[in-house]
C-alpha cells in the first residue's frame, strides 16, 4: 500500500468537496439486507495517523521529507531536534507511512528503512510518538465533543459522532461534516469524514472519498454500497483473490450472494465481509466520556534542552496546541500545570494560575517566561507535559449608569503580565490589614468583574464608615518600613529630632496615642504615636516603640 501524506492526497485527484449521492435502484435480490439503524453517524478518520500526530507535535518537520518507521529505527539527517536522534533499530525497521514530500521521492509504506535512506538521502526517519498520538487522539475527541454530546473513540485517529442533536446547529449534515473537517485541519489533523446511517456505511463513505467529506443521504445506502469496490472492506489477499476469481468486485455483487453459500464456501471471514457489504454494524455505538483535562506533551527522547530560550520555544508550541484545543471547545484556560521531565530523572512541576480564564498564548507565555526565568529548571529538560484546566470564558454585563468595567479576559491578561513584571505579591486590591500598624500591608487578588469566586464590591461604596466626599482628609504617606530616627524629648514629648541627617526642632506636637495590640503574637504592637510639625514646616507622624525603646518615622503628611 502506498502511504501518502494526507495533505498531498487532498491536493491530488480527490476534490475536498462535500458530495452526496442520489438514490438508485438497488439489486432486486431478496438476499440484500439493509441495516436497521436509523441513527445518523459521522465517521472521522485521520489517515496516516502516526505521521499526522508527529507533524502536529513537531511543526518544524512540516514540509520536509519524513517517514514514520516501525521498530524504533531512526536515523536523522536533518538539522534540529530530530537530527540528534540515533539509529537504534538496525536494519529491520520499515516505513509505516511517509509525508507527501517523502512520497515524491519514492518512499512508500513497507519499504525498509535502509532502502528508504538509499532512495532519499535527506529523508528524516522518525519512530511513532506515543505522546504525540495520545495528544492528537485527545484533541480529536475534544473536537468531536465540541460538535456532539455523543462521541465514540474508534481507535487511533478515528472517531464516530452521533449527529442526532446537531441538525439544528449547522446547515445540514454536509455542513457539520465540513465544519469537523475544517476544525481538525486547523489542529493540523487533516481528515476525511463520512456521514451515513450506521457506523459501517459512514466508515466506508469516508474511505471512499479519500480526503474530504461525503454524506450518504438516508435511503440511498443501498445504491451507495452497491457501487463501492470490494477493496474498501480490506479483505485478506487470499480472500480478495478468491472473490475476484468469482467475478465479484463490488459490495453490491458480494451482498447479492446467498449467506448460506458464503458461509459454506468462505467461512467466518466471508460472512463478516458479507455483513459489512450490506452495511451491518459489527459493534454498537459506545459513547465515550469527555476528557476532564486537556493535556499536551512533547518528548525530546535522545536530546535535552539545557537553556531557557529553546525550552520556551518548545513550551510555546505545546501551549499553542493546548490552547487551540481549548478554544475549539469554546473554553479558555484557568490554570496550566507544566511538568518538565528532567534529565536523567525527576520532574519539575510548575503551576500557572490565571485570574480569569485566558485564551491568549502571549499572556500565558509571559507568565511561563517569568516563572522559568525566576526559577530555572535544576537540570536539562527531556520532555514537557502541560495539563490545562479549562473554564468557560467570562463575560460581564456592564451597568448602564456606572463607568465601564474592565472586561474579565483583558483584565486577566493585564494582571498576568503585571504579575510577571513585578511579582504576584505586588499586585492586588489593597485590603485593611489585621495588623493595626499603618505600615502593615494587606492586599488580595484583584476581583474580576463577573467572576463568581471573587467578591466584587457593589457599584456604590458602603457608607457606614465613609465620610462625605466633599470633606477631603489629610493623608499621610506611609513609610514602609518605618525609618529609625533619633528624637530628643522633654518629659515624654519630642522636642527635636534628626531627620535626613539634619537636626530639626519640633514646632508643635500632638499625642501620644497609644496603640497596643497583638500581645499574644510574636511581634506585638506597643507604641505611642505623635503628630509632629517640624521647624521646616513638614508634618510627620512618629512613634515610640515601647518594646524596642526606639523612635521611628512612619508617615509624612501630604
Amino acid at each position: 500500500m502506498t502511504s501518502r501524506h494526507p495533505r498531498a492526497v487532498a491536493r491530488g485527484n480527490t476534490a475536498r468537496t462535500a458530495e452526496s449521492i442520489g438514490d438508485a435502484p438497488g439489486p432486486a435480490d431478496g438476499q440484500f439486507r439493509m441495516p436497521t439503524s436509523s441513527a445518523r453517524l459521522a465517521y472521522v478518520e485521520v489517515p496516516d495517523f502516526p505521521l499526522a500526530a508527529v507533524l502536529r507535535a513537531y511543526p518544524e518537520l512540516r514540509g520536509r521529507p519524513l517517514a514514520i518507521v516501525s521498530g524504533g529505527g531512526t536515523q536523522a539527517v536533518s538539522q534540529g531536534p530530530v537530527a540528534q536522534r540515533g539509529d537504534r533499530a538496525g536494519g529491520h525497521a520499515h516505513v509505516i507511512c511517509a509525508s507527501a514530500e517523502a512520497g515524491a521521492g519514492g518512499i512508500v509504506a513497507g519499504l525498509g528503512a535502509a532502502r528508504a535512506r538509499q532512495r532519499m538521502p535527506d529523508l528524516i526517519l522518525q519512530p511513532p510518538s506515543l505522546d504525540a498520538e495520545r495528544c492528537a487522539q485527545a484533541a480529536m475527541l475534544e473536537v468531536g465533543f465540541a460538535f456532539s454530546p455523543k462521541v465514540e473513540d474508534a481507535g487511533p485517529g478515528a472517531l464516530y459522532l452521533d449527529l442526532g442533536s446537531t441538525s439544528g446547529l449547522y446547515p445540514g449534515e454536509a455542513g457539520v461534516a465540513t465544519a469537523l473537517d475544517t476544525t481538525l485541519e486547523r489542529l493540523h489533523l487533516p481528515c476525511r469524514v463520512g456521514v451515513a446511517s450506521g457506523k459501517t456505511i459512514a466508515r466506508l463513505a469516508a474511505r471512499e472519498v479519500g480526503m474530504g467529506v461525503k454524506v450518504v443521504p438516508p435511503g440511498s445506502e443501498r445504491s451507495f454500497l452497491a457501487a463501492l469496490p470490494l477493496a474498501l472492506l480490506e479483505p485478506s489477499p487470499q480472500m480478495s483473490e478468491r472473490l475476484q476469481g468469482w467475478g465479484i468486485r463490488t459490495l453490491g455483487e458480494l451482498s447479492a450472494l446467498s449467506p448460506t453459500a458464503v458461509a459454506r464456501r468462505l467461512g467466518a471471514d466471508g460472512m463478516r465481509l458479507l455483513r459489512l457489504a450490506t452495511g451491518a454494524d459489527d459493534q454498537p455505538f459506545v459513547s465515550a466520556v469527555p476528557p476532564p483535562l486537556y493535556e499536551e506533551a512533547v518528548s525530546f527522547d535522545d536530546w535535552t534542552v539545557s537553556t531557557l530560550e529553546p525550552l520556551l520555544v518548545a513550551l510555546g508550541q505545546v501551549a499553542e496546541r493546548l490552547l487551540e484545543r481549548v478554544r475549539t471547545a469554546g473554553l479558555a484556560l484557568l490554570a496550566v500545570t507544566v511538568t518538565l521531565k528532567l534529565d536523567p530523572r525527576g520532574n519539575d512541576v510548575r503551576h500557572l494560575e490565571f485570574a480569569a480564564p485566558l485564551a491568549q498564548l502571549k499572556a500565558i507565555m509571559d507568565l511561563a517566561r517569568h516563572e522559568l526565568y525566576l526559577r530555572p529548571p535544576p537540570a536539562a529538560v527531556a520532555g514537557i507535559r502541560a495539563v490545562g484546566i479549562p473554564a468557560v470564558p467570562q463575560a460581564v454585563q456592564g451597568h448602564l449608569f456606572a463607568p465601564p468595567e474592565p472586561t474579565p479576559e483583558r483584565l486577566a491578561v493585564t494582571l498576568a503580565r503585571l504579575h510577571a513584571l513585578v511579582g504576584e505579591d505586588r499586585v492586588g486590591a489593597p485590603a485593611i490589614p489585621a495588623d493595626k500598624r499603618p505600615a502593615a500591608i494587606a492586599s488580595r487578588p484583584f476581583p474580576l468583574p463577573g467572576v463568581s469566586s471573587s467578591p466584587r464590591m457593589p457599584a456604590v461604596a458602603p457608607r457606614a464608615f465613609v465620610p462625605e466626599l466633599s470633606q477631603p482628609i489629610l493623608v499621610a504617606r506611609v513609610l514602609r518600613p518605618p525609618r529609625v530616627i533619633r528624637v530628643r524629648t522633654v518629659g515624654d514629648r519630642p522636642c527635636a529630632l534628626i531627620l535626613d541627617g539634619q537636626s530639626q526642632t519640633v514646632r508643635s506636637v500632638a499625642g501620644p496615642w497609644r496603640l497596643r495590640d497583638g500581645w499574644w503574637a510574636p511581634d506585638p504592637v506597643d507604641r505611642d504615636d505623635y503628630d509632629v510639625e517640624l521647624a521646616d514646616g513638614r508634618l510627620i507622624r512618629i512613634y515610640f516603640d515601647r518594646q524596642l525603646s526606639a523612635w521611628f518615622l512612619d508617615g509624612i503628611y501630604g
Binding site: P403, E405, L411, T414, A429, P430, R477
Partner: protein, 279 residues
Amino acid sequence: MPRLSAASGSDPAGVPLLSAISGLQRGSTLASPDGQLLPTGLAALDRALGGGLPTGRLTEVQAPGGGHGSLLVSLAARATSRGGTIAWIDPGGFLDIRAAQRAGAVLERILWVRPQNVAQAVRAVDLILGADGFELAILDLASLPAGAWRAQLREPGFRLDGAAWNRLVRRAQLQDIALVVASDRDLVPGVSALTLQVQLAAPIWREGEFEGASLEVSVLRRRGASGGFSGRFWLSLVNPPDPPDLRDHPGPPDSPGLFETGGRGDSAAGGIGERRVIG
C-alpha cells in the same frame, strides 16, 4: 485626636474659604480641555478646572514639598465611589490603606501595583493603559528613594524620556483613561495637558491638637487655556468612626471577643488592645 468640625471649603475661623480665594474664582472661568473630565473630589478644584481632570490626557501633579497624597487619595475615592475602576502604581508603597478607605475609596476597585523601581512602574502603567475599563491610572513617583531611580539605568532598553511619556499619553488617549503622574520634580515637560503644583502649608493646631492643613494648588500649565491661578484649599483632617476591624478585633483565637480595641480619638477606651490618648 479631636473630631474636626470645620468642613472642607471653610477656614478655621468658619469663613467660607472659596469666597475668600479670588484665584479659585478666576480659575473657574478657564476653558475646559477637550474630552470628558474626571472629578477630583475637591469641589473647589473641580470648579476651577471646569469639572475635574481631563480623561485621555496626562495630568502632572508636582509636589516638591509633599501634599499630593491627599489629592490622589481624594481622586481615587471619588472615582471608585462612583463605580469606576482605577489603577494605583505605587513604587514607593506610600498608600495609606486605612486613610484611603476613610476618604471613601472602594478598595476593591483599586488595582494597587507596587513595582520595585521606576522602570517597572512605567512598564506597569503601559500595561494598565493597554487594558480597557480603567477610569484612572495614578503613577506616584514622588519621594522615591534614589535607588528606585538608579535602578532604571540598569534596565536594558528603558529610557524615561519624552518619547516614553508621549507613548503613554497616546495609550491613555486610546483608552480614554485619565493618567495622573505625581512627582517631586518637573518630570514630563511639554507632555501633560494639565500641570498642577501642590504644596502643603499652614498646619492648623488647636488646643494642642493637629486638626489639618491647607493645600495650596497652582495650575502651572493647562493646554487650551492661557494663564493659571493660585489658590489654597483647606483639607480637614476628619476623624471618622473607626472601621469595624479596629473596634471589633477578635483577639487571640482561644478568647474570641474578649479583647476590644479602641480607636484614634477614642480616649475613653481602656484595657488591653486599646489605642487611647495618654498625653
